[in-house]
Symmetry: C2
Subunit: 129 residues, 2 copies
């Protein structure tokens, strides 16, 4: 029962996290915040966006728990919170063997090709002799 509840909670928070990450501006905001905390004005600068537009993105990120904002009324710096990103990493980790396996297969195929190529060259070399 507890586990189901916990899984549902994780599932719900993953919905918010993935939805928040589906926007390139929000991902760019997180990248900038990974360097340190910034005010809304500082965040808005490189995006050629109005403050309200940036604030809207920040609300989505805050709702997903990806950022927190300072309490000071004048300067409410935004800070990255990585816990939801850890959930994403844990979720996607379950699928890792799919791409490592396909890369292994590609690797095997390339080695096979090289081996064939090597044999052809050897034959040519023998003929020339």
């Amino acid at each position: 029962m507890y586990l189901t509840k916990r899984l549902n909670m994780t599932s719900a928070s993953l919905n918010f996290t993935f939805a928040a990450l589906a926007d390139p501006t929000r991902r760019a905001i997180l990248t900038r915040l990974s360097q340190g905390e910034l005010s809304v004005t500082e965040l808005a600068e490189p995006f050629e966006m109005s403050l309200p537009a940036v604030s809207k993105h920040l609300k989505v990120l805050e709702h997903a728990g990806l950022i927190t904002r300072g309490r000071s009324a004048q300067w409410r710096p935004c800070q990255l919170q990585a816990a939801p990103l850890k959930e994403v990493a844990d979720w996607v980790e379950e699928y890792r063997h799919f791409w490592t396996e396909s890369f292994d297969r590609l690797d095997d195929y390339l080695k096979e090709l090289q081996a064939k190529e090597g044999k052809k060259k050897e034959k040519k070399h023998v003929r020339k002799k």
Copy 2:
């Protein structure tokens, strides 16, 4: 120039991938497909959902490149495609140090607490003597 173009392409495909993953039914479909390919009817079974509703989810997953569908008209099995998930893993990897660092800090804090607790016990022990 090439790199910018490539980054933009990755960015655009990440938008579709994250948006597709923001739904628990779509994530559950991927989990089931990680066991092997399945038809739409087979996929619909555990979800108590109409076939058109499931088909809608499959279209979103297909558009994001997370699944492909077989060509046979009668039975078009769905197959998981992990390449977009690798992109997600690569993207989130950049943030890993944030949660590993915070766990390290928590670990340090707990060790500090334990050390203090140990000293208190020692003192009590000395007093009793």
